[in-house]
Symmetry: C2
DNA sequence: CTGACTGCAAACGTTTTGCACGGTA
DNA sequence: TACCGTGCAAAACGTTTGCAGTCAG
């Protein structure tokens, strides 16, 4: 388990119990919506307010601790900030899986944007389809 | 100009005046949010209802006429369905520019997903940064 | 100790819904 | 003509805000 308190402090945020709970759960599940996070944390901390979850997610995105993952036709999910990677989004179950980013693609994207005089800040590659688990369930 | 009536009919939708107006404007501007579309069409057709815009966008996405482009921290935009391409999203002015998809990248993505036994349906590559126009404005 | 954070409840804006009327095929 | 689509108004929903009490640094 990572040291969330240090992560928060280094990002200029106070390490409150609520924030550490949010980070712990997002880390555990990988990708969560606001509701997912609230539902999970409220189990062990019933006085948690949904407003607190909203406030902190916005704050942690602004401070680079979390990254938003917007998804077609659904609510955004959030993940811990880490190196660039690809998202495999299952259109059946909604799960998001990370895949390491490929060097070749990365190079191509940078070349493309440089040619366009576009100052690239962040890349987002989402692949939508049906994950292996849901394909098996469909077949049965 | 495309023949929107035919496009709609072939997609199983009636070619109403409102739907053709939506398509015409989305085609003209490239990428628009629900509000953008409503604001533009209502200029020439003041009785247009925002509810009609919502209903039709949902319908046209379901029928493959439009494609949703979800954007970090903002409302989704919509574009006419066409071959795969890359989006350059300007974080300053919000504009979205299309870039042709690269064959090499496409091949890599298919290889990756096949290896994962992931049934790829749709790819979405969004690059966030500052467009040339906004870079020039920042410098001045 | 003090400013920042939390929980609550109310406010806000966006999206959806039901229904009577009008238009397309 | 029959059914689908539209516009309107209300409802539902998600998100944000203000504030008084609490807590981390």
């Amino acid at each position: 388990m990572r040291d969330y308190a240090t992560l928060l402090n280094e990002s200029g945020l106070k390490a409150t119990f609520q924030r550490m709970q949010l980070l712990e759960n997002i880390d555990k599940y990988g990708h969560m919506s606001v509701d997912d996070i609230y539902a999970e944390v409220v189990k062990t901390h019933p006085s948690l307010s949904l407003a607190t979850v909203y406030k902190n997610i916005i704050l942690m995105v602004e401070n680079g601790v979390l990254v938003e993952v917007p998804i077609d036709g659904k609510k955004s999910k959030y993940e811990l900030a880490k190196e660039d990677h690809i998202h495999l989004v299952c259109t059946e179950c909604g799960d998001v899986e990370d895949k390491p980013h490929m060097q070749e693609t990365d190079t191509l994207l940078h070349t493309l944007t440089n040619n366009e005089h576009f100052k690239l800040k962040k890349q987002q590659i989402n692949l939508y389809g049906v994950c292996e688990k849901c394909q098996i369930e469909e077949a049965s």
